[in-house]
C-alpha cells in the first residue's frame, strides 16, 4: 500500500513515523516548503540567531532513507480523488492508496487596504522567514498587527535585531481573549519593559503604498500614521485548504473529519491545522492549530491507516508559550473569564513576572485548570489532579510536588498556601516537597 502525505510539518511527519512503526507500507511525504522536517515553532530562533535551520530539524538527514520514508520536494497542485492521483507542479503525478492531508495554515488577512503590498507579510512558513530576513535589510521600523502568539514572537524577533517595533493590538489588553486580566496585564508590562512600542486598543486601518507597490507605513483607527518598512500581519491563521475547494472533499473552515480523522472520502484523512473536527470534544474548538494536537493527530491517523480503529481524543487541554522572557503553561480549560459556577484563585509574585492561577468548581471545590506564568509545573501531575477532580485545598497542600522549576529556585508554596488561607479561612500546611520520587509514586 502506498500512503502519500501532503505536508512535512509535525502532523505529517508524526503520521509517517508511526505508520513506519506499525507497518511496511510505502510512505511518501510531499512538501514544497523545505527539504526536511523542521520545528515550525522554532522559526523565530533562526531569525534571532539562536539556531540555524539545521538545528531546528529533529532528525538527521539519514533518518528518512533509513526508515524508508520517501521525501518528495514538490507542490501538489490538485488532487484527483476519483483516480487517487496527485497532480504535481514539476514532477510526474503521484498515485496513492491512502492520502493524508496535513497542509497546515495560512495567515489571516481581513481585507485591509494595502494588505497585498510588498513588505507586508505573515509569519508561518520557512518562506515567510526568508522574506522577513530579506525585508530586514535596512529596516528602520516594523509594525506588527495582531496581539497573539505569532505577533509577540515577531516583535521579539525584530527586537533582537535592534529594529524598533510597534505592536498594534486591537484588544484593550494583550491576548485578553485567551488570558485572564492579571496575566494579560503582566504581559503588557513585560512588552513595555523590553522597549517594544505596544499600542493597545489600536487597529490597523490601512497600509500605505510608497508608490512602487511597497508598504511604507500604516494608518491606525486613531488616524495616526506610523512610518515603517515592514508590516507583519499576525491576526491568527486559517486552514490552508483553498487549493482543495470545489472538489469532492467536504470543507467548511477546514477539512471536515470524523472521530477517526477520516474525511468524507474513505481513503483520505486530514490532520493538524487544516483539519476540522466534525464532533469536537466538549469544550474544544473544531480547528485547533497548535503543535501538540497536530502531533497527537499524526499518531492517531497512523493507527487508523494501519487498520486499528483509534478515535482521536486529545485528552485534557494543555498548551505552552513564551512571551519574551516569561514562560506560560496551561493545563485544563482556562478561559479569559471565569465560567459560571467556578471560582478562581490567583497568586502573583511581588516581582510581577510570575504567577499561578487555579480555577475550581465553587460547589465541589474540584480543580478545573491551571495557568502558570514565569514558573514551570509538571504536566502529568496537574493533569492527574484535574482528571481525578481533586479539591483545590488538597492540590495546594501538595502543590510543591508539581513544581518543575530548576533546583535552588525559590519556592513560594508557603506563600501560596497562606494566600489561600486568607481567602478561604481554611488552615492548611504545605506537605510535599518537589521530589521526583513522590512525583513518580503519584503519577505511575
Amino acid at each position: 500500500m502506498h500512503v502519500a502525505i501532503i505536508g512535512n510539518g509535525v502532523s505529517g511527519i508524526t503520521a509517517a513515523r508511526y505508520i513506519r512503526k506499525l507497518s511496511d507500507h510505502k510512505i511518501t511525504v510531499i512538501s514544497s516548503e523545505s527539504d526536511y522536517f523542521f520545528s515550525r515553532t522554532a522559526l523565530m530562533y533562526i531569525y534571532m540567531g539562536h539556531m540555524r535551520l539545521k538545528d531546528t530539524q529533529p532528525y538527521e538527514d539519514w533518518f528518512w532513507s533509513k526508515n524508508r520514508i520517501e521525501l518528495l520536494k514538490d507542490h501538489v497542485q490538485e488532487v484527483n480523488f476519483s483516480n487517487n492521483l496527485l497532480k504535481m507542479q514539476t514532477g510526474p503525478p503521484v498515485r496513492y492508496d491512502k492520502l493524508i492531508i496535513a497542509v497546515g495554515s495560512s495567515s489571516n488577512k481581513f481585507g485591509w487596504p494595502g494588505q497585498d503590498l510588498d513588505r507586508v507579510q505573515g509569519l508561518y512558513s520557512l518562506q515567510d522567514l526568508q522574506l522577513m530576513e530579506q525585508y530586514s535589510q535596512g529596516l528602520r521600523r516594523a509594525v506588527i498587527v495582531g496581539g497573539g502568539l505569532i505577533g509577540i514572537e515577531m516583535a521579539e524577533m525584530l527586537h533582537s535585531r535592534h529594529i524598533p517595533v510597534t505592536l498594534l493590538v486591537r484588544e484593550k489588553s494583550f491576548w485578553d481573549i485567551v488570558m485572564p486580566a492579571e496575566e494579560s496585564a503582566m504581559i503588557n508590562r513585560h512588552i513595555l519593559e523590553h522597549g517594544i512600542d505596544l499600542r493597545l486598543g489600536t487597529e490597523l486601518k490601512e497600509i500605505i503604498d510608497d508608490g512602487s507597490g511597497k508598504a511604507c507605513g500604516v494608518v491606525t483607527n486613531l488616524e495616526e500614521e506610523i512610518d515603517c518598512q515592514l508590516v507583519g500581519l499576525t491576526a491568527g491563521v486559517h486552514p490552508n485548504v483553498d487549493f482543495l475547494r470545489d472538489n469532492q472533499l467536504v470543507i467548511q473552515k477546514g477539512i471536515l473529519v470524523d472521530d477517526f480523522l477520516q474525511t468524507n472520502i474513505p481513503n483520505v484523512f486530514a490532520i493538524g491545522d487544516c483539519a476540522q473536527m466534525e464532533n469536537p470534544k466538549p469544550g474544544r474548538r473544531p480547528v485547533e492549530a497548535i503543535w501538540y494536537t497536530g502531533r497527537m493527530m499524526g499518531e492517531v491517523v497512523a493507527y487508523n491507516i494501519c487498520g486499528q480503529q483509534v478515535p482521536y481524543d486529545p485528552g485534557i487541554w494543555f498548551n505552552s508559550a513564551k512571551f519574551l522572557d516569561i514562560e506560560y503553561q496551561v493545563y485544563g480549560e482556562m478561559p479569559a473569564t471565569v465560567p459560571e459556577g467556578q471560582s478562581t484563585f490567583y497568586w502573583e509574585h511581588p516581582g510581577g513576572k510570575s504567577s499561578i492561577r487555579i480555577n475550581y468548581e465553587t460547589q465541589t471545590q474540584h480543580v478545573k485548570g491551571f495557568n502558570f506564568m514565569g514558573t514551570r509545573f509538571r504536566h502529568e501531575v496537574c493533569e492527574k489532579w484535574i482528571v481525578e477532580k481533586t479539591p483545590i485545598k488538597e492540590v495546594l497542600m501538595n502543590f510543591a510536588m508539581a513544581n518543575f522549576d530548576p533546583e535552588f529556585y525559590k519556592e513560594y508554596h508557603q506563600n501560596i498556601c497562606q494566600e489561600y488561607e486568607k481567602i478561604s479561612g481554611q488552615v492548611m500546611t504545605s506537605t510535599k516537597s518537589r521530589n521526583w520520587n513522590q512525583v513518580f509514586e503519584f503519577i505511575k
Binding site: 539562536h50 538527521e60 535592534h162 502531533r295 502529568e380 530548576p406
Partner: protein, 528 residues
C-alpha cells in the same frame, strides 16, 4: 533620517554595533592584553609588579564592564541573540584566529617555554612579568605554569562573573558558577601556592596539592616521583596521598551515586570550570550527530583504558618483590589489581542487568577489554618480565603525557574551543569523565526528567548542550535522560522555551522512564 524614535527601550534597540560603554570596556581590556603582549615580545618593563597589577586589573575590569553593559541593561532571560551570526562564535574568521592564538599559546607552554620567557638564569618576557606575584605567593620566580595558572584562574573568575550576569535569573546556574570559581581560586590556585610558600625546607620536591584533582584526570598521581615526593613530605604528603586514594575509591563514587557526575564535572573540576565560564560562548559548537556520539564512546573509553593500563604498568615497574622492602610487592599488587578489575567487571554486569536499553555489544567489548588487559598482565607477571605489559612503562608514560596530557587536554581541549566547542576534552578525552560517566549511567540517582508532552522539538536544548547530547531526541518522546556524558550543567533546562527539562536526583525509577515511549497521545488499551 530624523524620525522620532517611538521605541521606549532601555537597551537601545537602534544600536547594531557596540555602544559607548562597550567600546570603553573593550579599550580597557585591550590595554591589559597589550601589556601582556608587549612584555611577551621582550620589552623589559620597569617595575614589573606595577605593570602586572595594571594588566590583570584592566583585563578583568574591561571584561566585566563589557559583560555588565551587555547583560544588565536588558531584562533577565535567555541571552542567545545573534550567537550564530557573530564571527567569534560561528566558526568565522575571529573564531579561527582565537583558536589559533590559544593553540599557539599552549604549544609554547608545553614545548617551547623559552618562547614565553622561561629561563633558569632569570626569566624574561611574559614569565618575568609574573615573577613579582610568584615571589609574593611562594617566594620563587615564576614558571610558565604559574603564568598559565594565574591567567586560567583569572579567566574562570571574570568569565564566571559574565556567566552569572548572563544567567542571573537562574539560581542553579549562579550557584554552580560560584562553586567552580571558588574551587579554582582556592583549591587549584591559592591554597597549593600558599602551602608551597610555607614549605621552608628545600629538600621537599613538588607534589600536587590540589585536593580536588584526582586520578585518572591527574594521571601522574601514581608516578614514582610523585609518590616519592608525597611520602617524603611528611604529614602533609601522607594526608594528600590518603585523601587522593579516598577520593578515587570512596568519595567520588558516593557523590556520583547521589548527584551524578555533575558534582565534579560542572561544579568542581578546573577543566569543566573553564569550559563553563570562558567556554560558554562556544558551547553550541559541539557536534550533535549520532556519528559523533559513536566516536565519542570509543575514544573516551579507550583513553580510560590507556590511563588504566599505563598506571598499572608504572606502579608495577617501581614495585619490588621483597616484602621487607615494600609495603606492596609485585605479587600483592597483581592480586589487588586483578581483583579490582574483576570486581569492576562484576559490578558492571550487576548494575547493567537492570538497564532496559542495554547493548549486548557494549557488554562484550567491555568484558573483552578487561580480559585482554588482565591476560597480558598475567602473562607478563608469570613470565617474570620486569614490566606489567610487553611495553616499557616509561614509554607508555611518555606517550600518555604527550598525546593525552598535552595534545588532547590542552591543545585540542582548550585551543579548539572556538572550533569544536568547549567540552571536547571532557567529552572525548577525559578518563575521569569516562569513569564517572560509567558510574552515572549504571547506578546514579541523577537524571533529567521531561515535562509530559510539552516539548515542541525546537532544538534549543540540543544546540546548547556542550557535550553534544541530542537532548531533544529524548525530550520530544517524553523520556527521561540518563546519559554517561551528561555533566549536569543545566543549560538545556535553562534555554528550553517551554519548561520541559529538569535536573533531579531521585532514587527510584532510574530506567522505567528511559525505556518506553512515554505515550499519552493514544490510550494504552487501544495502542497495545
Amino acid at each position: 533620517m530624523s524620525e522620532s524614535n517611538q521605541s521606549m527601550s532601555l537597551g537601545n534597540p537602534d544600536s547594531t554595533t557596540l555602544d559607548l560603554v562597550q567600546k570603553i570596556a573593550a579599550a580597557i581590556g585591550g590595554l591589559g592584553l597589550l601589556i601582556l603582549l608587549v612584555s611577551w615580545v621582550g620589552v623589559d618593563l620597569p617595575n614589573k609588579g606595577f605593570w602586572l597589577i595594571i594588566s590583570l586589573i584592566t583585563i578583568s575590569l574591561g571584561t566585566t564592564l563589557y559583560a555588565y553593559q551587555t547583560y544588565l541593561n536588558s531584562p533577565e532571560g535567555v541571552k542567545n541573540n545573534g550567537v550564530w551570526f557573530r564571527s567569534l562564535t560561528n566558526r568565522g574568521l575571529i573564531g579561527w584566529i582565537a583558536g589559533i592564538v590559544i593553540t599557539g599559546f599552549y604549544i609554547c607552554l608545553y614545548w617551547f617555554p623559552q618562547l614565553v620567557g622561561l629561563h633558569a638564569s632569570g626569566n624574561i618576557g611574559l614569565v618575568a612579568l609574573f615573577d613579582p606575584l610568584s615571589q609574593l605567593l611562594k617566594g620563587v620566580p615564576a614558571s610558565q605554569w604559574f603564568v598559565y595558572g594565574t591567567l586560567y584562574t583569572m579567566a574562570i573568575l571574570i568569565f564566571g562573573i559574565k556567566f552569572i550576569w548572563k544567567y542571573r535569573h537562574n539560581r542553579y546556574q549562579v550557584i554552580r558558577t560560584i562553586s567552580v570559581m571558588f574551587f579554582q581560586t582556592f583549591f587549584a590556585y591559592l591554597i597549593p601556592e600558599i602551602i608551597e610558600s610555607l614549605n621552608t625546607s628545600t629538600n621537599i620536591n613538588w607534589f600536587d596539592k590540589d585536593l580536588k584533582n584526582m586520578w585518572p584526570l591527574d594521571y601522574d598521581f601514581f608516578f614514582k616521583w610523585h609518590m616519592d615526593n608525597m611520602t617524603l613530605a611528611g604529614k602533609l604528603g601522607t594526608v594528600m596521598l590518603i585523601f587522593g586514594l579516598l577520593m578515587i575509591f570512596v568519595i567520588s563514587p558516593i557523590l556520583t551515586f547521589k548527584f551524578g557526575k555533575r558534582w565534579y564535572c560542572s561544579w568542581v573540576c578546573g577543566c569543566g570550570g573553564l569550559a563553563e565560564t570562558a567556554g560558554d560562548s562556544f558551547r553550541h559548537l559541539s557536534d550533535k550527530t549520532l556519528r559523533a556520539w559513536r566516536i565519542e564512546r570509543w575514544v573516551i573509553h579507550l583513553v580510560l583504558l590507556f590511563s588504566f593500563v599505563m598506571t598499572i604498568a608504572v606502579i608495577y615497574s617501581y614495585l619490588g618483590n621483597d616484602p621487607n622492602q615494600y609495603y606492596l610487592t609485585r605479587s600483592g599488587f597483581t592480586i589487588l589489581t586483578t581483583a579490582l578489575l574483576l570486581a569492576s567487571a562484576g559490578a558492571y554486569l550487576f548494575f547493567q542487568r537492570k538497564q532496559k536499553d542495554q547493548q549486548k555489544n557494549t557488554t562484550y567489548i567491555i568484558l573483552g577489554a578487561v580480559l585482554f588487559i588482565l591476560g597480558l598482565y598475567l602473562v607478563n607477571y608469570f613470565s617474570g618480565s620486569g614490566s606489567a605489559y610487553f611495553f616499557n612503562s616509561e614509554k607508555l608514560k611518555s606517550w600518555y603525557g604527550f598525546y593525552i596530557g598535552a595534545i588532547f587536554s590542552g591543545i585540542i581541549g582548550v585551543g579548539f574551543y572556538p572550533i569544536l566547542g568547549s567540552r571536547v576534552w571532557c567529552r572525548f578525552g577525559c578518563p575521569m569523565a569516562a569513569l564517572l560517566g560509567i558510574q552515572q549511567k549504571l547506578f546514579s540517582r541523577f537524571r533529567i526528567t521531561t515535562n509530559g508532552s510539552q516539548c515542541i522539538s525546537c532544538g534549543n536544548c540540543s544546540t546548547y548542550c556542550e557535550m553534544g547530547i541530542d537532548v531533544r531526541s529524548y525530550a520530544q518522546k517524553g523520556q527521561n535522560i540518563v546519559r554517561a556524558s551528561c555533566v549536569g550543567c543545566g543549560i538545556c533546562a535553562a534555554v528550553c522555551p517551554r519548561g520541559v527539562l529538569r535536573l533531579e536526583n531521585g532514587s527510584i525509577d532510574l530506567y522505567e522512564k528511559t525505556d518506553d515511549l512515554h505515550n499519552i497521545q493514544v490510550p494504552k488499551s487501544s495502542s497495545s
